[in-house]
């Protein structure tokens, strides 16, 4: 579908009351039950934490420009990288897409008026905010220096920093994500519009369904683990410290039982965003819809069975390690299926060179590198050398930043007109996508080489021969930072000065493009009746 005069006309004639202007007071926001307003609250709060986590990342990159520890003390450095990790993982990456775009879009995409439990949705945001405040107190009150992994017995006995407060913050943030996951699962099961069968759901919804299952089943385990950690640190219960009769490796098993699936919380939603954007950019039905949908579910299930690949050198059983390794290799298969299907979607498409397209291509490039380098690390014989080096750091940044953050930013640009009702300047969107792509590669590609040379992660000072690559990485980080600041500027500008957005600026398919921009409080004037498959841009040719 193209943008026609009628569309523009229609949006101007649209009901003037929408979710943004049906109330203005602070109370109308802080007590809202509208999933779209809660999504906006989340966008604002996770942006604050993204900026804070980014600030800590910049401090790390500044310090690592020289081999000596000349900018800050070792204790400070350890706190800085720990806070970078804790903030980015628990307060940005985990909620990033689900709590913002997911919150906004899942009900609209299934044709519902809101999520199943609007009050629980609001509660999840408040829990997140309280967790965020606790985390901030932990930072301001002296910081925490255990890394985001909280490995025992360092965290439980030896560290002199605010471990309990930081663990409490992560514990609370977990409940916020359990509530979000619960809401999505119930909504997707029970609130689909008439005619919206499971196999007509947009792939964004499938990926959020898979993500929600992980949130529901995995997060309670990290909660229990953090409680055990706090009990040991606070009251001397002996779970993990061998001096108290505990087992330090037990902590790693419990921690990664959640935190490996959590990695898929930090990538699956962006895969959903990608599927939507690829279809819109090529104006084509996503190739092999069922395979892309089920690959999300396969990743969620297999993701629960691979935690031990973080522990190949930890002294876990060799044979357990073998099982974890082979299942990890199998995760490569659903990931490959997705990439091949996206590629096939572009084949004979009608590809537009706009901001979304730049993000789609950037994501494909970075996710390819991130996913493929996983093969090195799942190889037991090679992981012995690579474990806990910068190779691992580079690999997971390619997945989490190259994947999830690219997906988040791309999705923000894609749905920005729907969320705000305003258009942003497309040229700036393309410039920023390009800067992010170049800056990201310059930051993290050298770290693969550093890792293979043997530079361990979490090193404040390092041998001289690693300096050149570290300087390259820090230079890249400054370009990357620019790539993140520019969208912040023009997107904010567009809210006040941007031209009004039509209902369907990209000519894309999906229920969210059939309602107004921004949508009314209950999303649709009347409940939609779904009569076609997702991404039905034209009649489908059978093979």
């Amino acid at each position: 579908m193209a943008i026609t005069e009628q569309d523009v006309q229609a949006s101007e004639d649209a009901p003037s009351v929408n979710y943004l202007n049906n109330g203005y007071g602070l109370k109308s926001w802080l007590l809202t039950r509208d999933h779209k307003r809660i999504a906006v609250l989340y966008i604002i709060s996770i942006s604050i934490f993204f900026a804070l986590g980014g600030l800590f990342a910049s401090l790390v990159r500044f310090e690592l420009m020289t081999p000596e520890g000349d900018l800050m003390s070792s204790d400070t450095y350890n706190k800085v990288f720990s806070m970078h990790g804790i903030i980015m993982v628990f307060f940005f990456l985990v909620p990033s897409i689900p709590a913002t775009l997911g919150n906004f879009l899942v009900p609209i995409m299934v044709g519902a008026k809101d999520l199943a439990f609007p009050r629980i949705n609001l509660l999840s945001w408040y829990v997140y905010v309280v967790a965020g405040i606790l985390g901030t107190i932990a930072v301001v009150g002296g910081g925490v220096d255990t890394g985001w992994t909280f490995y025992t017995p360092y965290s439980s006995t030896y560290s002199n920093s605010n471990v309990i407060l930081a663990a409490m913050a992560a514990f609370m943030a977990g409940f916020s994500s359990i509530l979000t996951g619960l809401n999505f699962v119930v909504t997707i099961h029970t609130m689909r519009a008439p005619g919206m069968t499971w196999f007509r759901l947009p792939l964004f919804v499938w990926s959020h369904y898979a993500t929600s299952i992980i949130m529901l089943l995995g997060t309670p385990v990290i909660a229990i683990t953090l409680v055990l950690l706090m009990l040991e640190r606070g009251f001397g219960f002996g779970f993990f410290d061998p001096n108290l009769g505990g087992d330090p490796v037990l902590f790693q098993h419990l921690f990664w039982f959640y935190s490996h699936p959590a990695v898929y919380i930090m990538i699956l939603p962006s895969m959903g965003v990608m599927s939507e954007m690829v279809a819109a950019v090529a104006r084509k039905r996503v190739f092999g819809y069922e395979f892309v949908a089920f690959s999300s579910v396969a990743i969620a299930i297999l993701g629960f069975l691979v935690w031990g690949h973080h522990m190949f050198v930890s002294s876990q059983s060799t044979y357990a390690g073998m099982v974890f390794s082979v299942i990890t290799f199998l995760v490569a298969v659903p990931s490959a299926i997705k990439v091949f299907n996206w590629t096939a979607t572009l084949y004979k498409g009608s590809i537009v060179y706009d901001t979304q397209m730049f993000y789609v291509y950037g994501y494909l490039g970075l996710f390819l590198v991130g996913g493929l380098t996983g093969l090195f690390l799942s190889s037991m014989g090679l992981d012995i050398h690579l474990h806990d080096t910068y190779f691992v750091v580079a690999h997971f940044h390619y997945i989490m930043v190259g994947g999830q953050v690219m997906g988040y930013l791309g999705g923000m640009h894609f749905w920005w007109p729907k969320i705000t009702g305003k258009m942003y300047p497309d040229i700036w969107g393309r410039v920023s996508a390009l800067l992010v792509f170049l800056g990201f590669n310059l930051t993290f590609f050298p770290q693969f080489i550093l890792g293979y040379m043997g530079m361990p992660r979490r090193y404040h000072v390092y041998p001289d021969e690693f300096q050149v690559l570290n300087v390259a990485s820090s230079l890249g980080a400054s370009i990357l930072a620019l790539g993140y600041v520019i969208p912040g500027a023009y997107l904010t500008w567009s809210i006040f000065k941007g031209p009004k957005a039509p209902d369907n600026p990209w000519g894309a398919k999906g229920l969210e493009w059939e309602t107004t921009s921004p949508p009314p409080t209950f999303n649709f004037e009347e409940t939609p009746l779904v009569t076609e498959e997702a991404y039905q841009y034209g009649p489908i040719e059978e093979h």
């Binding site: 030896y158 410290d241 092999g288 799942s378």
Partner: protein, 316 residues
């Protein structure tokens, strides 16, 4: 800043080459798939650029054959890499039986190493060229990880248990020794140097300097100091079992089951003696927890290992 900088680590152990071969093997696979996808999407972008704003392309739902094809190929390749990497892994963790024994204790923030002949080192390890060396390691406090990039070996050093690592150095030189597991403030300064020496130079180094008490002698001294010998009599007439020739044997336990008498078993028996009592003996041994240092325990283990029973082995 250095102007001359390396991009690849030294290959200084017998399996560095094998690890690197696997690395380049996987790298080739990755480059192939990455280029395949990148070339395709770039061609598509050029060839299928949107011509007009109302253009709608032909819709293709999918293709079952293609789906099976690109599910099966990555699955087979991934399993192939798994087999390659796992075979290599077993080689990397299985020391030859005649390997030299050395001992490592990690603590915040230093490496303490000891040779069986008694020589002690801190943050330095001297090893002979071409000899297999097996390290037995433990930690006094938090987790550490013993990592020599040039040898492609790494193993976590865990408080409360022994872990092992082995290598055979193949190139004379000095190489980095890193702690790879975050262990607190001075984690990045818990580093050292591994010196690979020609065998004769190693012998000279070992006998040079001050005279050292061999580990088994030190262990024997501790054995008597803690009065172990009053119960563990060599002839088996004491209240505890004789330790002669016991190391490496599998023994029956009181209450059923068996246990292999290895480093971990001896350590446990010292710290928690009632956990695994040998069949036929009473749980009367006191715990030595908090009384013997990790290094002391290792010396006692070295002494017990040295208690060979030559006539017995001949009979077997």
């Amino acid at each position: 800043m250095q102007t001359d900088f390396p991009l690849f680590p030294d290959q200084a152990s017998s399996f560095a080459f094998q690890v690197d071969a696997l690395y380049f093997g996987i790298l080739a696979l990755c480059v192939f798939f990455a280029l395949l996808v990148v070339i395709l999407v770039v061609i598509f972008a050029i060839k299928y650029q949107r011509k007009s704003d109302d253009e709608v392309p032909r819709q293709i739902a999918g293709h079952l054959g293609l789906e099976i094809f690109w599910t099966a190929i990555p699955a087979v390749l991934a399993l192939g890499v798994f087999v390659w990497a796992t075979v290599l892994y077993f080689h990397l963790i299985t020391p030859p039986p005649n390997a030299m024994e050395m001992y490592v204790v990690g603590k915040q923030w230093m490496w303490k190493l000891q040779h069986p002949e008694g020589k002690k080192e801190i943050n330095e390890l001297h090893v002979p060229l071409g000899e297999s060396v097996r390290l037995t390691m433990t930690s006094e406090d938090v987790l550490h990880s013993f990592y020599i990039p040039a040898f492609r070996v790494k193993k976590d050093v865990v408080p409360g248990r022994y872990t092992n690592l082995w290598f055979k150095a193949t190139q004379v030189g000095s190489y980095h020794l890193f702690c790879a597991e975050f262990c607190g403030t001075e984690h990045s300064r818990m580093i050292g140097t591994v010196h690979v020496l020609e065998p004769q130079n190693y012998e000279a180094w070992l006998t040079g300097g001050t005279a050292n008490e061999p580990m088994e002698v030190a262990g024997e001294r501790l054995f008597e100091q803690y009065a172990c010998h009053t119960c563990h009599k060599a002839d088996g007439a004491g209240r505890g079992p004789s330790l002669v020739g016991l190391f490496g044997k599998t023994v029956a336990l009181e209450g059923g089951g068996t246990a292999l008498v290895d480093e971990a078993y001896i350590r446990e028996s010292l710290l928690n003696p009632s956990a695994k009592v040998m069949a036929g003996y009473k749980p009367i041994m006191p715990t030595f927890k908090g009384q013997i240092s990790e290094e002391g325990i290792i010396q006692i283990i070295a002494y017990i290992k040295s208690l060979k029973a030559p006539e017995l082995t001949r009979m077997e």
